[in-house]
């Protein structure tokens, strides 16, 4: 008679001593070729003349960098040639059964971007610090959400409710901060709100074994409905509950004077600084401490954890709640860190993008952060380009962050192994 059900499926792992067949994956060269063709079409066929200006610093910066002025057509030509060369190199490596290294794909992406920006911004100027700072600001809630997702999935509960945790955190922090007049109490209340949403997820999925994805989706719908209702019925009638309080940014001495990076990373408000701390703490905690070892064991092989005396369901419950609290901070950034006041459905799907960042980042806090930064950048690129007056229709540009998300998750991740027991309830008979 088996004691512990269900059995955790053993994931495919290399068996020692077996030969691995070599197979060619043409995914990368084909994708690169598609972008090279796009580059030829845009930069040659629909090429634009003139000069594009990249402004590298603003008037208030400590160190001022000169503007970079590139000839639009020439840049396009050079970039396209380099892109074609990279594509050929990738194809050559694939012929030799070698993978295309990720740095090469990143280089390709950056080059394409430079070419595209100079094309889109012909006879115009693009403020590079603005582009980056805006990206960081759009990424911040994604990063908090992704960190919450990483913790929750690592402990074995799929956290689809990140959206709800963000939105709950945003709403509650705005209202509590307005009532108490204290931003800090607002921040703490956002964490509590996120944790409460998480606890509902935890109770239903751990105690009542309801499908975790369904509970997560339902929670998102519930929180969206509830906050929208309260916003229309209560907040619009009593503006005192949604005053628009905002953390003001402050400079970190010395670091804030580094050109480009200083204004980007070290002239921010406290929520962003908390994010830096959270990334480091989650990484250190997950991989270097007892808390992380136990958390990962519970998400990988709950029976093994149980037989060494770890309380599986309690571990899951409290860590899912913690994940919600972290995501709640991300919600607070929407209101207290960025916009000031709460607006109906202001998260606009950020929770789902954060979930994609978790998977793209392969359940690793650092990689998930990088993924969230990429998605944030894609969103902001669209904002910046619509300001510059790019010739691409704005509806098309609005798709950009989501297209990048799909390409990243579907195309680049390939087969990745998440925590083995993620999504599976642990039932002890």
């Amino acid at each position: 008679m088996s004691v512990l059900t269900p059995d955790v499926a053993v994931p495919a792992a290399p068996t020692p001593g077996l030969t691995i067949t070599r197979s060619r994956s043409w995914k990368a060269p084909i994708a690169l070729a598609a972008f090279t063709v796009l580059a030829i079409l845009l930069f040659f066929v629909a090429g634009r003349s003139g000069h594009s200006t990249f402004r590298l610093s603003t008037s208030t910066d400590f160190v001022k960098l000169p503007n970079a002025v590139l000839p639009t057509h020439g840049t396009g030509v050079v970039v396209t040639i380099v892109l074609a060369l990279i594509t050929l190199f990738a194809a050559y490596r694939t012929l030799g059964y070698k993978k295309t290294p990720i740095w090469l794909i990143a280089l390709f992406g950056v080059l394409f971007l430079v070419g595209f920006l100079s094309w889109a911004g012909a006879n115009n100027s693009i403020l590079v610090p603005g582009l980056l700072i805006g990206s960081l600001s759009l990424s911040t809630p994604l990063i908090f959400g992704a960190l919450g997702g990483v913790i929750s999935e690592r402990v074995g509960v799929v956290n689809v409710a990140i959206e709800g945790q963000l939105l709950g955190g945003a709403f509650v922090s705005a209202v509590v901060a307005s009532i108490t007049g204290s931003l800090w109490i607002g921040l703490v209340s956002a964490m509590i709100a996120g944790a409460l949403v998480s606890m509902v997820l935890a109770v239903f999925s751990i105690r009542y074994l309801v499908d975790q994805v369904i509970v997560g989706v339902v929670l998102n719908v519930l929180v969206t409905g509830l906050t929208s209702f309260l916003y229309s019925e209560v907040l619009t009638n009593s503006p005192g509950l949604n005053k628009g309080l905002l953390f003001s940014p402050f400079d970190i001495p010395v670091l804030s004077r580094i050109p480009l990076i200083g204004p980007l990373l070290f002239q921010q408000n406290v929520v962003v600084y908390l994010m830096y701390v959270a990334i480091a703490a989650v990484w250190f905690g997950l991989f270097k401490t007892r808390w992380g070892l136990r958390l990962r064991a519970v998400g990988e092989h709950p029976q093994a954890a149980d037989t060494v005396g770890i309380r599986v369901n309690a571990t899951r419950f409290w860590n899912v709640s913690l994940a919600g609290a972290i995501a709640g901070l991300g919600g607070a950034f929407f209101t207290l860190g960025d916009l000031g006041e709460f607006q109906k459905t202001m998260t606009a799907g950020a929770g789902y993008i954060a979930l994609a960042a978790v998977i793209f980042g392969r359940w690793d806090p650092i990689r998930a952060t990088l993924a969230a930064l990429l998605f944030g950048f894609a969103s902001n690129l669209q904002n910046v380009l619509s300001v510059v007056g790019s010739p691409v229709p704005s509806e098309f540009m609005l798709m950009l962050p989501y297209v990048v998300t799909i390409l990243a998750v579907a195309g680049l991740v390939g087969q990745s192994r998440g925590p083995a027991a993620s999504g599976k309830p642990y039932i002890k008979s």
Binding site: M1, S2, A12, L18, L293, H301, D306
Partner: protein
């Protein structure tokens, strides 16, 4: 430390899994707990380990009554367990697995990994294990993983060690090594409980033997008892330990497999250039330790594997690359190794399960309608013929015992006109009575002139059924040998070594 169980009783609803079981294990002795699958051995050990709470009875360590709320308490009291399914986190290193649940931490809550490594090395050295503390567990061979389990228990200063069916996944050589380790632990003063259903091992290593059947202690035996005595005690009646079968009268080659390669999802060659043939009216047994490509080989024959190279032909017609349905329609019967996962739909009734392979057309389907009356008659006949003990053909198969479930699978697969019969692990986890029945049916199928492939990790079963034995190791067939090949030779072959005098016979078989 002395372990004493007094009148342990554990009930699950109406089922009494353990009925007043008492047992004493002294320090420095190996006490074997012998019983069939489902006799209640594992339940008893889970009570001892704190995973279950006993309804009645006491656990005493050195005459002090213990109350275990969970495994943590049992471990703290000095009880260690080597689980049948290893309780190791596959993606962790050896050191991380050993320290899990018992972690030392340094400044800032940082894990003391160097300390854990040192501990693994120290225990490895004491027992002559060769275990790298930084190896990832899933990349280690099962024998080594088991040693990690032992190290894990010993690192918590276990004075009572429970081995739950420890030899199920080991090669004969690894089993011998484990026996040596158990003796060494015994001599160091550890009290050992050895749970098994394998008579040979019990007689080899046990100081005392307690036999349990249907949740009750039915007797004690000394290690000098004969296999037949132990078996009849275990089963409750005298058992035929060997399968009665006439010598095979093989006909023409029916299944011919040439250069078969199977590649799995991550690009590993799991079956590597396998060629063999099975003749009409013979049983080819495929031996080997679990995970050496047998599963993938049988799945490839059935058309269940995605990436297959080479040719498979049955009675001169190629069945390579056919869909599973076409393979079944060409007369292949298949007993999958995991009946609850691949063989049956647990929520379906016996009757419904009996027609799963013929759900497209006749005899039970006509123009999209089920012919329930025909099906009921057919199911009634099969239940009687195969002695499926149930409350009727409308019983969901999930409620049947393992043995009866396997009989349902067998009844379904043997009720078509077969040109090939493939049985993977046909007696895994079923009671002795059902084992006898399954073996008889397999031999009867052979005697009807059907070519039969039996895949088994149990050497006893291989030797009992085979007319010829193919041994698989790391995806290849490293030899096809006659049925009378000595067990120690088979054991060596399962570990990848072919003695020179047997390499010859493989080539002869290939020529034949």
């Amino acid at each position: 430390m002395k372990l004493e169980l007094q009148g342990i009783t554990k009930r699950f609803g109406a089922l009494t899994a353990n009925d007043h079981i008492s047992l004493t294990v002294e320090p420095g002795e190996i006490h074997a707990l012998l019983g069939e699958n489902g006799a209640g051995k594992s339940t008893l050990m889970n009570v001892l380990y704190g995973l279950y709470q006993a309804d009645e009875g006491d656990i005493l360590l050195d005459d002090v009554v213990q109350h275990f709320a969970g495994p943590g308490d049992a471990m703290a009291a000095g009880i260690g367990m080597v689980h049948q399914h290893f309780m190791l986190v596959p993606v962790f290193t050896v050191a991380e697995n050993v320290m899990l649940g018992n972690e030392e931490t340094g400044f800032g809550g940082r894990l003391d990994l160097p300390g854990a490594r040192a501990k693994v090395r120290e225990i490895s050295k004491r027992f002559g294990f060769d275990v790298d503390p930084d190896a990832i567990v899933e990349e280690l061979p099962v024998g080594v993983q088991q040693r990690v389990e032992i190290i894990k228990a010993l690192s918590r200063d276990a004075k009572v060690l429970v081995f739950d069916e420890p030899t199920a996944v080991l090669t004969p050589q690894e089993t011998d090594e484990l026996m040596a380790i158990m003796r060494q632990l015994r001599d160091a003063g550890t009290a050992i409980v050895f749970i098994t259903h394998k008579l040979r091992e019990v007689r080899e290593v046990a100081s005392r033997i307690t036999v349990i059947r249907l949740g009750k202690v039915v007797g004690e035996a000394s290690p000098t008892a004969s296999n037949a005595e132990l078996a009849s005690l275990m089963v409750g009646r005298s058992v035929e330990l060997t399968v009665q079968k006439a010598p095979a009268t093989p006909g023409a080659a029916a299944l011919v497999v040439e250069g078969l390669r199977v590649i799995d999802a991550i690009g590993q060659i799991v079956v590597d250039d396998v060629s063999f043939e099975v003749r009409r009216g013979e049983i080819l047994a495929i031996a080997g330790v679990q995970g050496n490509g047998q599963t993938e080989l049988t799945e490839a024959l059935l058309g269940l594997q995605a990436r297959v190279e080479g040719t498979i032909s049955l009675d001169g017609r190629s069945i390579t690359g056919l869909s599973v349905r076409k393979v079944l329609d060409s007369g292949v019967g298949f007993v999958p190794e995991d009946r609850t996962e691949d063989g049956l739909v647990g929520e379906f009734t016996i009757a419904e399960n009996l027609m799963l392979d013929r759900s497209y057309a006749g005899p039970f389907v006509s123009r999209g309608w089920l012919k329930l009356i025909d099906l009921a008659k057919f199911a009634g006949d099969k239940v009687a013929e195969f002695d499926v003990r149930s409350q009727g053909i409308a019983t969901p198969v999930g409620r049947l015992s393992g043995g009866n479930q396997q009989k349902v699978v067998l009844a379904r697969e043997l009720s078509r006109d077969l040109r090939l019969f493939v049985a993977a692990q046909p007696t895994r986890g079923i009671d002795v009575g059902s084992i006898e029945f399954v073996h008889k049916r397999i031999v009867a199928t052979r005697d009807e002139g059907v070519p039969v492939i039996v895949v088994s990790t149990e050497l006893d079963e291989v030797v009992a059924l085979a007319d010829r034995i193919a041994v698989m190791y790391r995806g290849s067939i490293i030899g096809i040998v006659p049925a009378d090949t000595p067990r120690d030779v088979l054991g060596l072959m399962m570990a990848g070594e072919v003695p020179p005098e047997y390499q010859q016979s493989h080539e002869q078989e290939q020529l034949a």
